[in-house]
Symmetry: C2
Subunit: 552 residues, 2 copies
């Protein structure tokens, strides 16, 4: 006889004990508890949390009045300005899904995204009017276009019939907003740049956005009322979830249209910024900025570094400035940050170089990201913690996307075997910390030996003249592939290809040293990631040219 | 034509992007990331987080081997020892529900709970064997009894066939444990003491336990690796959720069998305790402890005060000691802490008395407690923020119980109108902070005028001789009711009833001053709450005696 479970009778979910998790509730609470605290600082503009709530409600109610609701997409093409922060609340509060567009994309890509997402509304900063105008011309159905005409921007053509402030003026600051009916409802859509084929639309859910917001605070040990500087593009995984984190934190966002190291450091000093995030390139800019720009920053600044494995010397240089640097790792499909190089208290006794080396690893799973493992992609068995065996980083649970919009096949492939496949190859150190060895497609196989491009890059970064380095495979008639390096040097440095090759050969197995080093500016994505696929093309072209000349 | 919602197609929950929320995952992560950090300190016993996980898994697997699983109740009658902390993970990891019993209850109450919860297992510290033995004798079905025979305890009879360590020895430290299939699954059962009738069994869910654990950290601004002293009984709302918080925090629990101010202060000094919680009586003990016991505590200590509105002078005295005190408010049905007197940064410029007064309010909702309001109980409309209009504090969402076990009527009453009714009467200050005026049943109505007993108590606390005060209604032939005070005085103080009445009349409208003041020890619950219902009975008895003598 099966006894009925007494805990399953008459104890159901109901509106008193259950409400869908959503980051919108953080805004409501902070506007209630800290109405007069600064939410946003941008040039001369200042919004308290009470203003912020009112503006988001205006946006949501005006969108609703324009017929926007659940299942609709609102695209935004904007810099890191208050409007973009407001969209992170106002759009989902209307029931719709926010699609933050990468402002460095070309018209064709933007047009693809607007069409694929069936965007009903496009909020667009006039700085990008040239691109956006071309994109709109490519569309069959034109969305409602709302212009952001920012006095601090460079100006540009207005493409819509209404500007953002006028649109807000038609909204209701006391409108209650729509809470999601289900925490699984979509909140945001983020297209991955993807090296081949069309971009894929990663769909985020309210539940994951709520959890990443809290995890950001907990995993970064972020105290209440932090002052956060927007050096990370808000279109990158929704600014790693930080618009929602700052609402939960009752913090202050300091907005910036673009990342210029002198202005970043000036903003840090002026507003006593405590926290900022960015790709390695952003941190490197600060680390290598002239000393006089850094003067007067005497408080503790905490930086999160992510988007690519950071060079250890950059971490070290920031530590010398008194910055406290933490690395996070993740990708669009897992809401941005999904792993953190959690500092162990005993690391504090390490010297600067050893500390920077520890912090240069990708680390362990985020508090709310239940599963992260380095698995053999064939067997899905974990690799040993030996710091040598390479596997693929995989994730699962609660901070993973719903899937790719209108792309069930890609979704199924990404989720094959019950794990999200990151495509990043890594080892696990004996202490359990994950360390990226390479993106799958970046492995260089030379004479049957695997070369981890990251290892070669790290050696290049050790050279004082090197600011940025990327190593890719170059087709080679003898060895199959050889490593080819592309290097950006620090201003004023005089260094030759031969010198850098010698530097590598002195520090690496000879087969790992680049055979060719190209010195010059590196192509980067909007988020500061070096575009290795472009470099791979250049390496292939150089090899073909070499072959042609050799008469092969 | 209704367009299908593209975000609702092919983007379902699956094991890659969804897992039930449970605080068990915090233990797993912390044991993984910080395996060697101290989880528990108790006398000479030290457990790292890795040990802790192993011991919890042993407990869970041994319970499973004993036939315990989903739908079963495991009761624990224990002091604040490591076993009780382990039960907070090991029991739910087995699939079962933890019922932490109040060790100060009598045999009849314990027997009622064991029978009502159908407890299959009882883990019981030998200190309580006399009571528990009698309780077991009252039961038709005896649970499996496991004795905790703590070398630091006073000793006592063993009631079971096996002791806790032997039971654990039969378990498997590598057992994977059962994750809840649904985050709505029950995790804990806590009986409310209740002033009348049988205790009600409040059922907690995994989802709420996860959220209260994170909220405790966020709302208390609690940094990672806090050192937490167990001055709050673990049987009180599962120690306000802090066993789970400390797992998320990777903190250290310092256990104590009983709250003795000298030992509490010694433990704070020895282990550099950063955080502790307790009822006002615990904090008062520390505030009024001899100066020599406090010497050598030079680090910052953060205290949460809850369970009853704290007297402002106690907060002030703790502030003078350099302690940082925050008040929380809640009750069993809302997972313990559900509101917090969130400090506003500008309060730092207030003088000590004004700061203590601000901190003496119950405050605002917890981050994860979506709804808290003071409503007119008849209309369910919010009262104005005037600091004067009294309403009932009500809660809803995510940190509210599933309901009362096997008591659908009480559940329906508690949830009537879509809110959980706390029974506490309060006003809302102009800044939105809730301030308790009285428990519903504590309102004293004298000559048609309402008297808030808290107001009278606060005046009594201002008298230097008063350590604790409680004011209740005394039936009165003329006025209906009059306020009657029961007062505990500080050691060595000589004060008379007349003097205290004069003190009140000098500071209150005369009708509010107690007509009668009884000096002596106050009856308190195990958690330090003054048992007003007993005092109400005494007041009634005194009145009847008075009437008899007056020949009425």
């Amino acid at each position: 006889m099966v006894r009925p479970d007494p805990y399953a009778i008459g104890l159901d979910r109901n509106p008193v004990n259950f409400v869908p998790l959503t980051p919108l509730s953080f805004l409501a609470r902070t506007a209630e508890v800290y109405p007069e605290r600064a939410a946003v600082i941008y040039g001369d503009r200042r919004y308290t949390w009470s203003h912020m709530l009112g503006r988001c409600r205006r946006l949501a109610s005006a969108l609703n009045a324009a017929g926007i609701g659940v299942g609709d997409t609102v695209a935004v093409m904007a810099a890191n300005t208050p409007e973009m922060l407001e969209a992170h609340f106002g759009v989902p509060m209307s029931g719709a899904v926010l699609n933050a567009l990468n402002v460095r994309l070309d018209a064709r890509a933007i047009a693809f995204m607007l069409a694929h997402a069936e965007a009903k509304v496009l909020i667009t900063d006039t700085e990008y009017s040239a691109t956006v105008g071309q994109a709109l011309a490519l569309l069959d159905t034109r969305p409602l276009v709302i212009d952001i005409d920012d006095a601090l921007g460079p100006g540009g053509e207005r493409l819509g019939r209404i500007d953002y402030e006028a649109f807000l003026a038609g909204g209701d600051p006391d409108w209650d907003g729509r809470q999601p009916q289900d925490e699984w409802q979509a909140i945001a859509l983020n297209y991955t740049s993807g090296t081949t084929g069309n971009p894929k639309g990663v769909v985020y859910h309210h539940r994951g956005a709520y959890l990443v917001a809290l995890s950001n605070m907990i995993d970064w040990n972020m105290p209440r009322h932090s002052v956060y500087l927007w050096t990370l593009p808000l279109f990158h995984c929704n600014g790693w979830g930080f618009p929602w984190t700052l609402a939960a934190n009752a913090g202050t966002s300091v907005c910036l249209r673009r990342v210029d190291p002198q202005r970043v450091l000036a903003a840090m000093r002026e507003h006593r910024v405590t926290h900022y995030c960015g790709a390695p390139v952003v941190h490197a800019m600060l680390a290598y900025a002239p000393e006089e720009w850094k003067r007067g920053i005497e408080h503790r600044v905490h930086g999160l570094i992510g988007g690519a494995p950071p060079p250890v010397p950059v971490i070290e240089a920031l530590q010398r400035m008194g910055f406290d640097i933490t690395q996070i790792y993740g990708l669009t499909e897992v809401f941005g940050p999904a792993a953190v190089c959690a500092e162990q208290p005993e690391w504090q006794s390490l010297d600067a170089a050893a500390l920077a080396e520890r912090k240069g690893r990708q680390g362990v799973r985020y508090t709310a990201q239940e599963g992260m493992a380095v698995l053999d992609p064939a067997t899905l068995q974990p690799v040993p913690r030996d710091g040598r065996t390479v596997g693929e980083i995989m994730f699962r649970c609660n901070m993973t996307m719903k899937g790719y919009l209108k792309n069930p096949q890609a979704t199924a492939e990404a989720f094959a075997g019950g794990w999200f496949h990151s495509g990043d190859l890594a080892v696990v150190q004996p202490d359990g910390y994950v360390q990226i060895r390479d993106r799958s497609k970046d492995v260089i196989i030379s004479g049957g030996e695997n070369i981890n491009s990251v290892e070669v890059e790290e050696v290049l970064y050790q050279h004082p003249a090197v600011r940025a380095a990327a190593v890719v495979a170059c087709p080679d008639p003898k060895w199959g592939e050889t490593p080819c390096a592309f290097v950006e040097v620090v201003e004023g440095a005089a260094v030759t290809e031969a010198e850098l090759i010698g530097h590598c050969r002195a520090r690496l197995a000879h087969f790992k040293a680049p055979k060719k080093i190209v010195i010059g500016a590196l192509p980067k994505t909007a988020t500061g990631k070096i575009q290795k696929f472009l470099l791979r093309e250049r390496a292939r072209a150089m090899a073909a040219e070499g072959d042609r000349r050799a008469g092969l």
